[in-house]
């Protein structure tokens, strides 16, 4: 197992370098919006767009060749000296440290809700297949999966925030962190995040659980007089959990860096998803690379943890080549 883990960690480093290289390449090949705008204005007023562009590039430290810049960035990433964000004039680590909290307060509750409710409803649906509640749950699931998050968020803002006045419209970071008022600011963002995630978890949980609902050992368990709850949890959910774990990591990372971005933009939450997107838009290379490095590394390591977790959840799995 130790050898396997070492190999996977080594692979994590290689994969991270590859992703950073691709990201750097894309950034280098893309136009810089700020420089484009400034050069455009300079040309219109009779100035020299090339000089303007050079001034802005100089400000951003883009003075050497692309190869030199690449080496500089990769070395700074490897040595954890991630430099300063061009946009915010703050160390990249400070920007990330400030932003992750705002993402965490929406993503963690949404993930917990998604896992608990999604798995619970999925199991219930599986054990009550083709009942009205199963159809209702299926409807909710398809609604959650189908509805575009950005649209759903805007509609919630307009209905519950503006029309009914029940919730705040946008996030306010000045509200005391540990307060009920703060919770009211998080209700809509968490609802949007959780809706699609619950739906996804639920459908997977239902499909997996259905494989075991009619299994022989379930009938045996029932024949022994075990309660339905125990049958569901111990004899259906446990074997179904192994494949469900596989989707969990992808879902959580997806929530943080895809859905969370949309939610953060619409509700004005200064979280990691939004900051990383802005870094991309503004071509803030140090911040882009850092915010790329973190999810990539986390995903790879989380996948490793997931693989290790398999062995605990299902003792038949052994990465050293043996089997029981």
């Amino acid at each position: 197992m130790a050898r396997y883990v070492c190999w996977r960690l080594l692979w994590a480093v290689v994969a991270t370098c590859f992703v950073l290289t691709v990201t750097f390449g894309i950034l280098s090949a893309s136009p810089n919006p700020e420089a484009s705008q400034a050069a455009w204005e300079a040309a219109q007023s009779g100035g020299d767009p090339t000089e303007t562009r050079e001034i802005l590039e100089q400000r951003r430290g883009e003075t050497g060749s692309i190869a030199e810049q690449y080496v500089d960035y990769m070395v700074s990433m490897a040595t954890f000296d991630w430099g300063e964000s061009f946009t915010y004039n703050e160390p990249v680590t400070t920007v990330i440290a400030d932003a992750w909290v705002y993402s965490a307060i929406t993503v963690i509750p949404a993930t917990v809700l998604a896992v608990v409710l999604g798995f619970a409803i999925g199991l219930y649906s599986a054990t009550h297949q083709y009942t009205k509640t199963d159809y209702a749950a299926t409807f909710v699931a398809f609604f959650g999966i189908s509805i575009p998050n950005f649209w759903f968020a805007i509609v919630l803002v307009l209905v519950f925030g503006e029309l009914l006045g029940l919730t705040p419209i946008s996030y306010d970071s000045e509200v005391p962190f540990w307060s009920l008022a703060h919770l009211s600011y998080l209700v809509l963002p968490i609802t949007v995040l959780a809706t699609s995630a619950i739906a996804s978890e639920m459908r997977y949980a239902r499909a997996e659980a259905l494989e075991y609902v009619g299994a022989a050992w379930i009938k045996t368990a029932r024949a022994k007089g075990i309660s339905e709850l125990q049958v569901t949890v111990r004899h259906v959910f446990r074997p179904a959990l192994v494949p469900l774990i596989t989707i969990l990591i992808a879902d959580v990372v997806g929530i943080i860096f895809a859905t969370a971005y949309i939610v953060e933009v619409i509700f004005g939450i200064p979280g990691l998803g939004y900051v990383s997107y802005q870094a991309l838009v503004r071509m803030d290379t140090p911040l882009v690379l850092a915010t790329t490095l973190i999810p990539v590394f986390l995903t790879i390591v989380a996948n490793l943890c997931q693989d290790v977790a398999y062995t605990m959840l299902d003792p038949r799995i052994d990465y050293e080549g043996g089997s029981r």
Partner: protein
């Protein structure tokens, strides 16, 4: 993502644009005036100063929302509106222009025109830098000129150096007065963005970095601009209405009322400035989504935000909101590509006229911009003193909008290889003529107008393929050309040889400053070798000489005559369809009391705006 329009431009560009015309040209939509037509005399706009009685108490906070974070907070590095907005809370700048386009005192108490070749500017005697930098004196300005503007290298990365290209020297006359000498006489110098609105850093703060740079430290300029002292405005003293409190990235910027503000209770308009500013805190919130900003304004979460043109009416109908629609000198145009990668007949003036004649600008203004724009026939707003209606040839409004005549003109002007087959205009290859229309993403009005243009040209039998891209992509792929040195420029030379990387025929949605104060600044756009003639216009008249003569004219009357001739030629030539002049639309909570008349200079005195009651809980 940048957009091309007033709200996304830099301080320098905004200053150059929001100038001078006559007072009160704008329309203001209130509950009483929702027609959207605006009032030519500005007398019925509902926001005339002095109409509201009430207590100018200091309210707790002003909250406004903007879509984006500032790029930087150094006055030397500012290149975008978001940054200018924040800097303006701490530094007033030299002076501004009022609703009549006249000098309005801020740091500079007064100025003296010494024969158009030299201008003496006298600073107020109450200006104090922060920390231990003492008073702002003429010496700060002289040092700024010699070591920032006129330095051999742009060590500090100041983008405004070209604004000072006409200045020969800056010397101190006494402690508070410095004299700016020009290379050529310029009666309009005060209205140019060299001195106007310029902010500087104290000499005592900047000089040590300059010495470091002289000693070989190439990063000294950057070190200065990103230092805590600069980005936290520790040097700003009493020079602006607010002091820096904190900046939370991608969330908010908070400033607190400056108790020592130099402008408080001073002339001109001492009454308005009696206790200015009238808010304890000024909060700029970053809300990227337009729908969120608008919902917050409606629900009372914001004091102010800008409104999109196509949603103005619903806000005008809201009792809690005052809408102020202000004209700008930004001309939103349809460019005809006359370079080799555009439709070749666009080089023919008659063809361009025919296309312009087939697009109804009134429809665009009324039905797409919801009345928040004005029809344009040349590259100068009608309120400009250099605009002469008798010289202008209109296309696309009233009788000059005539698709039938446009079709006849097109038939007449196109070569015999072209011809109509029913309603379709066929090209030399026997296929229907198809033009590529490109425009930027970001606003509904761009897309709606793009569709309208396609429909209008469809009436002429021309198929239009529409493509929308972000603004920076639009610049890079469709406007820029590569010159012989490999640099990306906007006019690399001969239109037969140099073209953009992607083909296009029509470009809609970009908006250009028409410089109504100094129309000579438009030469780069409309002369064959001009640095901004990206569309390959080759005028039949010698516009280069005409511009040159107009700029060099000694008296204003000759300048007016010369520029009127130029703008007449442009309206006739239609190097581009001038389409519309944008309005900029402001939405305020109804409690906000304005202290100025509506004009293109709107906001020049916005730190004297106050509120009749608390705006936010």
């Amino acid at each position: 993502m940048p957009s091309v329009g007033p709200s996304h431009l830099s301080r320098r560009t905004i200053l150059a644009a929001t100038s001078g015309g006559i007072a009160g040209i704008a329309g203001c939509f209130t509950d009483d005036d929702s027609s959207g037509d605006g009032d030519e005399d500005g007398s019925d706009n509902g926001t005339e100063p002095g109409e509201v009685d009430g207590d100018r108490a200091i309210r707790s906070e002003w909250i406004q929302a903007v879509p984006s974070e500032a790029s930087n907070l150094s006055p030397y590095w500012v290149s975008d509106y978001a940054s200018s907005l924040r800097i303006g809370l701490h530094l007033d700048g030299t002076y501004t222009l009022d609703e009549n386009g006249d000098f309005y005192s801020l740091w500079v108490d007064d100025y003296e025109n010494r024969g158009d070749e030299a201008y003496a500017f006298t600073l107020r005697d109450t200006l104090e830098w922060g920390r231990d930098y003492g008073a702002m004196t003429a010496d700060d300005w002289v040092w700024f000129y010699h070591n920032v503007i006129d330095a051999e290298e742009n060590w500090i990365g100041y983008l405004g150096r070209t604004d000072w290209s006409s200045v020969e020297s800056v010397e101190a006359e006494d402690r508070r007065t410095f004299v700016v000498e020009l290379e050529e006489p310029d009666p309009l110098f005060v209205k140019r963005p060299a001195m106007w609105g310029t902010s500087i850093l104290p000499r005592a703060l900047t000089e040590p970095y300059y010495e470091d740079w002289q000693d070989g430290d190439e990063s000294a300029g950057e070190a200065l601009n990103v230092s805590d002292e600069v980005v936290e405005f520790q040097y700003a003293g009493n020079l602006g209405p607010y002091g820096f409190e904190r900046r939370e990235i991608e969330d908010r910027y908070v400033a607190t009322r400056n108790d020592d503000y130099y402008r408080r209770g001073t002339e001109p308009d001492a009454d308005d400035w009696a206790d200015a500013p009238y808010f304890e805190r000024y909060v700029i919130r970053i809300l990227p989504t337009q729908s969120t900003r608008l919902a917050e304004l409606r629900s009372g979460g914001l004091t102010y935000t800008e409104l999109p043109a196509d949603q103005t009416q619903s806000f005008a109908d809201d009792d809690g909101i005052t809408v102020v629609s202000v004209p700008t000198p930004y001309n939103r145009i349809v460019v005809y590509n006359q370079r080799a990668n555009g439709w070749e007949p666009l080089r023919n003036r008659g063809v361009r006229q025919a296309l312009s004649m087939a697009i109804d600008k009134t429809t665009v203004v009324d039905d797409i911009f919801d009345g928040n724009a004005k029809v344009a026939h040349t590259f100068q707003p009608t309120y400009s003193e250099f605009y002469d209606d008798s010289r202008v040839t209109p296309f696309g409004e009233g009788e000059s909008y005539d698709p039938g005549q446009a079709r006849s003109l097109l038939t007449e002007e196109l070569s015999s290889e072209y011809g109509y087959d029913g309603d379709a205009l066929l090209g030399p290859d026997g296929e229907q003529v198809q033009l590529d229309l490109v425009y930027q993403t970001g606003e509904t009005v761009y897309e709606d107008t793009g569709r309208y243009i396609a429909d209008a040209l469809g009436e002429l039998g021309i198929a239009v393929d529409q493509r929308a891209t972000p603004a920076d992509v639009l610049f890079q792929r469709y406007a820029q050309q590569e010159d012989d040195s490999g640099n990306a420029v906007y006019n690399a030379g001969d239109r037969d040889e140099y073209t953009s990387s992607d083909d296009w025929d029509l470009m809609w949605s970009i908006s250009l400053n028409t410089y109504p104060n100094s129309p000579g600044s438009n030469a780069p756009v409309f002369t064959e070798t001009g640095s901004f003639n990206f569309f390959g216009y080759v005028p039949e008249d010698d516009l280069e000489e005409l511009f040159s003569d107009a700029i060099a004219a000694n008296d204003l009357e000759t300048q007016r005559e010369s520029f009127a001739e130029i703008f007449g030629i442009l309206s006739r030539d239609q190097p581009l369809n001038f389409m519309v002049f944008d309005n900029r639309i402001h939405g305020y909570r109804q409690e906000v009391v304005h202290t100025e008349s509506i004009s293109p200079s709107w906001g020049y005195k916005d730190q004297t705006f106050w509120a009749t009651e608390e705006l936010h809980e």
